[in-house]
């Protein structure tokens, strides 16, 4: 490009990825914001064109409409697996947000959340408070009120609705190697039952669990918002913690966290001291369903429930993990798996997007809820905390009786029914 308008920015570094776009339009129909907002500015091709225009200088980084359309992107990356030219859209988006970050403030609520997530001394009490609140009837009572507060309450209320199961003690021969799990801020804060279930089902399937003390937030939310330095700082801490654990695999049960951890190599590509370590670490990261599928998984006791599966974007599009979660579900005797129409479409959660862009988020969620209702399933399985809460809250507010659940919890309940 002759004369770059934004030299030495993350966006300028992303030019080769932008250049790979041939403007063919194959990504348009995969994009939830394009389908809902019906404007090419809100399509992958359009956003890539805006990025190019920023570099060409035909549009300025402080332009309000450019910021709007970049903000409105869900970062779901549904545009990536359909692109014949291999445009790394997720990376372009992060680079753009990091570049625009200089020119305008991140919305207050987003800044607050990111600030808290990067600091353990704030995150712990915040999660403690959320957990305590979730244990009271308050969220359920307030979940019906209009607006974001009601939605946030419904999100909290949805976290307390997992499947009942009895205790069992898993035994392992550990033949499949050692595993350290990412505890995750939201997972450990609000879905600790799922975290324990993750450890149990991995154990049943021949993995032995080792600790990784010192691990932090994965940094995904920061990276998506363009706060790349914060994300890098968190990544370095995690690299140290997981290297020290010596585990063969790092198991992640939150798709969004798994996706960024698999991309630590890219995140730290310009840091000579850390790059190779990051690449090595990324190579050991697995979604929990991948480890389970590799082991079978072992069959458990009968669980006669009707379940449908919704693929988290960061699992199916970013990590390209398609089959493994289905193998987990089909390994459960008695479980009836019914297909969900558009199961690969975003639910509108997208990290903290549902709190910052509520209207678009709601518009994207609405067809998802209708499709779930049509399946008449009693559970919607999905492996990401954001999706669990977004869909869970939507179901509560739309008074649909289905509940959202992590696939691992269903497998765990099946093992519990078996007594192991």
């Amino acid at each position: 490009m002759p004369g770059c308008a934004l030299p030495n920015t993350p966006l300028a570094g992303a030019l080769p990825g932008i250049n790979a776009c041939v403007h063919c339009g194959f990504c348009l129909q995969s994009c939830p914001t394009y389908l809902n907002l019906e404007d090419e500015n809100d399509s992958p091709r359009g956003r890539i064109f805006l990025m190019r225009s920023l570099l060409e200088g035909t549009v300025k980084p402080d332009d309000a409409s450019v910021q709007l359309h970049i903000d409105q992107c869900l970062g779901c990356r549904a545009c990536e697996p359909v692109c014949p030219s291999g445009v790394p859209y997720g990376q372009l988006l992060e680079a753009t947000r990091a570049t625009l970050y200089e020119y305008r403030p991140t919305p207050f609520i987003a800044r607050l959340i990111l600030f808290v997530f990067a600091r353990e001394w704030l995150l712990r009490p915040a999660m403690f408070f959320s957990r305590a609140l979730a244990a009271t009837p308050i969220p359920t009572l307030l979940s019906g009120i209009k607006g974001r507060l009601g939605f946030a309450m419904a999100m909290l209320a949805s976290t307390g609705r997992s499947i009942e199961r009895s205790n069992y003690k898993p035994v392992t021969r550990g033949e499949r190697g050692t595993v350290a799990t990412l505890r995750g801020c939201v997972m450990e804060g609000l879905f600790s039952t799922t975290n324990r279930a993750t450890e149990r089902v991995l154990t049943v399937n021949g993995y032995s669990i080792v600790g990784a003390p010192g691990q932090k937030c994965c940094g995904a939310l920061h990276a998506h918002a363009g706060h790349l330095e914060d994300a890098r700082a968190l990544a370095r801490r995690n690299i140290v913690a997981f290297e020290r654990s010596g585990a063969t695999f790092i198991a992640v049960n939150a798709a969004g966290c798994g996706a960024i951890m698999k991309e630590y190599g890219h995140l730290l590509k310009d840091d000579p001291e850390w790059h190779q370590r990051a690449v090595n670490l990324s190579a050991r990261v697995r979604d929990v369903s991948e480890l389970l599928a590799a082991a079978g998984p072992r069959e458990g006791g009968p669980l006669p429930v009707k379940v449908t599966y919704d693929a988290p974007c960061h699992l199916i599009h970013a990590q390209r993990v398609n089959e493994a979660p289905l193998s987990v579900l089909t390994a459960i005797p008695g479980l009836e798996l019914v297909p969900l129409h558009d199961f690969d479409q975003c639910c509108g959660s997208a990290g903290i997007y549902n709190l910052i862009e509520p209207d678009t988020s709601d518009a994207v969620l609405a067809p998802k809820l209708a499709n779930i209702r049509d399946t008449r399933a009693s559970w919607v399985a999905t492996g990401n905390p954001g999706c669990l809460m977004q869909i869970g809250a939507g179901l509560i507010r739309a008074e649909i009786s289905a509940r959202a659940i992590h696939p691992v919890d269903l497998l765990d309940a099946s093992y519990a029914a078996f007594g192991q």
Binding site: A20, V22, C24, D39, F49, L50, P84, S85, G86
Partner: protein
């Protein structure tokens, strides 16, 4: 003021007037060309679309219809005028399984229509490679073709009737849903009119029953020349394949590098993708004949897809080939010449010679069965010397096609890109006749002005009153008008 009035019709969210928001509408699938629109308006219902056109007529404002913007001739570009985007009109209005027809709004995406009718054992035959993105309205305007049009015919052969809003706001029905029409059948005039005759608002298409049997063959060759001769031999044998597609070695390798990798042999210099369909017995016989012709003509191997999944994979690779070329170089340019099939070996040799002469990389992927070539050149527009060579190479290739008795566009349309070639293949009389025909639909020349027929040949529109740009009566003449030179994008 115009924007406000339009916003009253379609709602403020669906009118764009800021320069920065209009940027993404400045190009189509061939972004070497850019034209900045003045305004964009996206009606959400049929009534809104009619109201928009009537308002523009009352104000005498020129406009350009736009579908999905996948066109490859710059047809949907609006030079300082209004874009009327039809992508929000995406309802499948009715499906009549018994009589095998469907009525759709223009913004319905081609593949979506096909997915909708598939459960009924039906298909909509025209299958442009862009089917996953392009709209039926855009297909009508460009008379789009696709691999399977060799046997089944192009869009024109599959549209029964249309409701059209003329640029004056008047509504006319063209063709007939039920068969013959009294009076003139003007379908053929409208289909392929590239947005210059008004908006297609409702389109009734013919659906085709799925064939009983389908076989997809992949023949691979160590030379382009052998594959070209085999193409001619298959056609000469009297068999009409459902599709007969050609890809050269460079194309094979970019596809194999992409997520649409189809398992094509990387070391081949050419492959033919041949589909045969019809009744089981006939297909089996044809398959054997075609296999023999390929092997006799020097094919290394002829593979038959085992199942639907493998067939789909072979086709996806072909259909995503253009997109996959983005990995070669930042910019891409493609031509769309049609040549007599017997000249295929000769022209491919010429293309090869030209590419060597200008040291540019040409990827050939095209509808061999109907002689519709698509030479693609990937290059960097930031390098002026390279751009110059690419430009010269393309002109030379086009001239060779014209000299071989070919035409300048098979399916992508003239648009802006091929305007400069029009006078080298049409006489003044023909061009005048085209202008007169246009005058019947759009006497004020307000719908997609400045496209298809060179401005000076047609005493075209001279700009919006008060517009920043108003065009001179005469543009540069044909081939020196730099027909396919892209602006750095």
């Amino acid at each position: 003021m115009v924007a406000e009035r339009l916003a009253e019709i379609v709602g403020p969210a669906h009118v764009l007037s800021r320069q920065s928001e209009l940027l993404v509408y400045n190009s189509d699938g061939l972004p070497g060309y850019r034209r900045q629109p003045r305004l964009a308006v996206f009606p959400g219902t049929r009534d809104e679309a009619i109201a928009v056109v009537r308002f523009l007529a009352a104000e005498r404002l020129p406009f350009v219809p736009r579908g999905a913007g996948t066109g490859l001739s710059g047809g949907a570009l609006a030079d300082d005028i209004v874009v009327v985007g039809l992508h929000r009109l995406k309802k499948i209005i009715s499906l009549d399984v018994e009589n095998r027809r469907a009525t759709v709004e223009p913004g319905v995406v081609n593949l979506r229509l096909n997915k909708h009718v598939a459960p009924h054992g039906l298909l909509y035959a025209p299958d442009p490679s862009s089917e996953a993105a392009c709209t039926i309205g855009g297909n009508v305007a460009e008379n789009a073709g696709g691999p399977h049009c060799l046997k089944y015919g192009v869009t024109l052969n599959h549209v029964l009737a249309m409701t059209v809003v003329l640029p004056s706001g008047e509504i006319v029905e063209l063709g007939s849903k039920v068969g013959e029409r009294d009076g003139y059948d003007l379908r053929g005039a409208f289909i392929g009119s590239e947005g210059c005759f008004g908006l297609a608002l409702e389109i009734t298409v013919k659906l085709t029953p799925k064939p009983q049997a389908v076989r997809t063959l992949l023949a691979d060759f160590t030379s382009v020349d052998k594959a070209a001769h085999v193409t001619s031999a298959i056609i000469a044998s009297g068999i009409v394949p459902a599709a007969l597609e050609f890809m050269d070695g460079a194309t094979i390798r970019v596809v194999e590098d992409s997520i649409y990798a189809a398992g094509y042999p990387r070391d081949a210099e050419a492959i033919l993708l041949i589909e045969l369909d019809g009744l089981e017995a006939g297909v089996v016989a044809d398959q054997e004949t075609v296999r023999r012709i390929c092997l006799d003509g020097g094919a290394r191997q002829v593979r038959v897809a085992r199942d639907d999944a493998e067939r789909m994979k072979l086709w996806q690779g072909r259909k995503k080939a253009f997109g996959a070329m983005g990995r070669l170089a930042p910019h891409l340019i493609v031509q769309d010449a049609v040549i007599p099939r017997t000249k295929l070996p000769e022209i491919l040799a010429t293309i090869h010679a030209v590419s060597e002469k200008y040291s540019v990389m040409v990827c050939n992927v095209f509808h061999a069965g109907d002689g519709n070539l698509h030479p693609n050149i990937a290059y960097s527009a930031d390098d002026p010397a390279e751009s110059e060579r690419v430009h010269k190479a393309m002109v030379e290739i086009m001239q060779a096609c014209i000299a071989a008795g070919g035409s300048i566009t098979g399916e992508h349309g003239v648009g802006l890109d091929k305007l400069g070639y029009m006078e080298s293949i049409f006489s003044e009389t023909s061009l005048n006749a085209m202008c007169e025909l246009r005058g019947v639909f759009d006497p004020e020349r307000r719908s997609n002005p400045g496209k298809v027929v060179p401005v000076h040949a047609c005493k075209e529109w001279h700009g919006i009153p008060g517009s920043a740009k108003s065009r001179g009566a005469r543009e540069a003449s044909p081939l020196e008008a730099e027909p396919s030179r892209p602006i750095a994008r």
